[in-house]
Amino acid sequence: MQFILVLLFSLLVSGGAFAQDAGSTSGALQSSNLLNPNISAIGWLQVEAGRRHPGPAEAGESGNAIQMREVELSLQAVVDTLARADLFVAIDEDDVELEEGYLTWFRLPWNLALKAGKFKANFGRFNRIHTPETPFADRPLVQQNYFGSEGLEGPGASVSWQAPIPWFFMNLDLETLQAPEAAENPSFDRPKSKNLLGVGRLNAYQDLTEAWNLTLGGSAAFGPSSQEFDAVTGSSHTHHSQLYGADLTLRWKNPRRAVYRSFLWSTEALWSNRDEPGGMTTDSHGLFSYIDYQFARRWHTGFRYDYTQFPADGSTHEEGHLAYVTFTPSEFSLVSLQGRHVKRPDGTDEHLGFLKVTFNIGPHGAHPF
């Protein structure tokens, strides 16, 4: 952790030094400044009202009335003639964590790209979006229950291939990641440090009209979930979890009035099959679906529905609703008032209100479409 802080500090200091020198000294320093990475930060402040009855995934959250949830620092640059690098560091009140840090080789033949580092897995569409940049004050319940608070992520490598079809966009991603521990991710657990997780996603995109478009995706993940010891033989057996996902996103935006009106409907469903000791399996599933409607240049409103079981328990479920109104003074900040109701598995009702405030400084790049 200290290493990350020292590295960030050094980069910021060197960036600042170049920036100061650029105006007054030689051209050599000016060109060095031009080669510095883009440095951006996103701040996320959250106000919360109501009494929490947290489910298992949110049990560790403080639920403080006012919380600086996170500052996400990003450094992005082209590394050399073949690759670019993207680093995202999440800083909260207690911790500094490398959220993502990866190198992408994007000048490869045969429509290929390779990625290596720590990154969010390409499982579904939502998993890759950092929480401050989602429309919500939380992550959908199914995401929390199956992937934890940070989503499915880890160090690994990925290969991405675009089908060479000139009139239709289709992309296949195959990834292998270090399998997460159960404390990070409820769906998986690595009994051995060498255990890996495999993730694949096939997605297709089509413009339906000039204003409407549709994205469809199918995902799968396979990895270890537990280990069973045989006391008689002294051997061990690793159990696995298999996750399957389907996602659909329908968008509308009239290009003649793109800054004023837009509509998005996105749904993701997930099915889990988990081996249990004694030859048993647990089947469970969950989904979330939301709409976001931009009704004026600076205003959005939206609604999300959640239904989710649990990776280790397919017999109970929780259900939730979230509604919001968001004001965006510019592309670089927003204030969002949100209300959430969750019916927990034990029948208790949780009602929470949130005020989410985010701001973005620096040239943080666009996120995946």
């Binding site: 670019r84 992408t104 994007f106 000048r107 490869l108 429509n111 290929l112 790209a113 675009q162 000139p166 009139w167 239709f168 966009f169 992309n171 995109y205 089509q206 413009d207 478009n213 994205t215 968008r251 935006k253 290009p255 003649r256 009035r257 793109a258 800054v259 004023y260 240049r297 600076r298 510019s330 592309e331 670089f332 040239p363 790049g365 666009a366 996120h367 995946p368 479409f369």
Partner: protein, 303 residues
């Protein structure tokens, strides 16, 4: 027999490759219109955005990747006009030819007269300011000439043509432009010194080229919607200075400008800053023809 068939097939393949058109992708229809003047029938052109779209706010749709993936040349307006959407497309296009610095990448603004380059410290309190100058530079016909020369040079580099088609097309375009500039100068003579208010700060080059004075904008700062206070200031200014026209780009909501026009007697004109901005404006020449005639008609003069 087999050998003859093989030879014929091979010759067909070679000839189709020899006459295969270059695939040019442009970020806007303005760049496409100029590329068409220079490239003629040796190129196929695919613009990403339409002239009736705000080129600052474009979704990086995967369908654009299909255009970029097989492009031989990408022509961008540059000056960070496309900064909000082009970089992720280029990273995902899987086409190293068209990456910045590659043989198939052209920033059309090279050598153009780009106005309003900010001096000193800038920040976002100034709105969506462009640090490398106002990117709507194609609205000066002399910049159109420079863009066409840039395109001709780049096309000759990536597609050496013994017939010198690009040079010939450029010569023909420049000669037509000379003629048009004389006509436009005459057309714009009564407009010289005319004051106008635009919605966005997209016409400084046009104003400089034709002697029009842009005295304010409906947006108080670039990209910032008007507040009631700013609206009132505009109404006061229009009445006091007797400003005759409000020029609104086709992609902006015209309700507020209409209200201002109604209260002040100024004329509100939907003024396309780009080829394809309104129906019937399909070439670079037609853009200036349309805009200048529109302004003249607003002054009550016969175009």
């Amino acid at each position: 027999m087999k050998t003859i068939r093989l030879t014929v097939s091979l010759m067909c393949l070679i000839s189709s490759l020899a006459f295969a058109k270059l695939k040019i992708v442009t970020t806007t229809q303005d760049m496409a219109a100029l590329a068409r003047e220079v490239g003629g029938d040796r190129i196929d052109i695919l613009p990403i955005t339409k002239g009736y779209q705000d080129p600052h706010f474009v979704d990086a749709k995967p369908s654009y990747l299909l255009k970029l993936r097989s492009a031989d040349l990408l022509i961008v307006v540059g000056r960070e006009l496309e900064v909000g959407w082009l970089p992720p497309l280029l990273t995902n296009a899987r086409n190293s030819r068209i990456l910045p610095g590659g043989p198939g990448f052209l920033d059309a603004s090279e050598g153009c007269d780009v106005l309003q380059k900010p001096a000193g410290q800038i920040d976002r309190s100034m709105g969506d300011i462009h640090p490398f100058g106002n990117p709507h530079y194609w609205l000066d016909p002399e910049n159109g000439r420079i863009i066409a020369r840039n395109i001709a040079r780049k096309l000759s580099e990536i597609d050496p043509d013994p017939q010198k088609t690009y040079e010939e097309n450029l010569r023909r375009f420049e000669s037509a432009l000379d003629e048009k500039e004389t006509q436009w100068k005459a057309l714009a003579a009564p407009l010289r010194g005319m004051a106008a208010i635009t919605y966005h700060n997209s016409l400084p080059n046009f104003a400089k080229a034709f002697g029009i004075r842009i005295v304010n904008h409906v947006e108080p700062k670039p990209g910032v919607p008007p507040s009631p206070v700013h609206m009132q200031e505009l109404i006061t200014q229009i009445r006091k200075e007797k400003i005759p026209v409000l020029l609104i780009e086709p992609y902006f909501d015209d309700r507020l400008p209409m209200k201002i026009a109604h209260q002040t007697g100024a004329k509100m004109l939907v003024f396309p800053p780009s080829v394809g901005g309104v129906e019937g404006v399909n070439t670079y020449f037609e853009l200036f023809d349309y805009d200048l005639k529109l302004l003249k008609s607003a002054l009550g003069e016969k175009p």
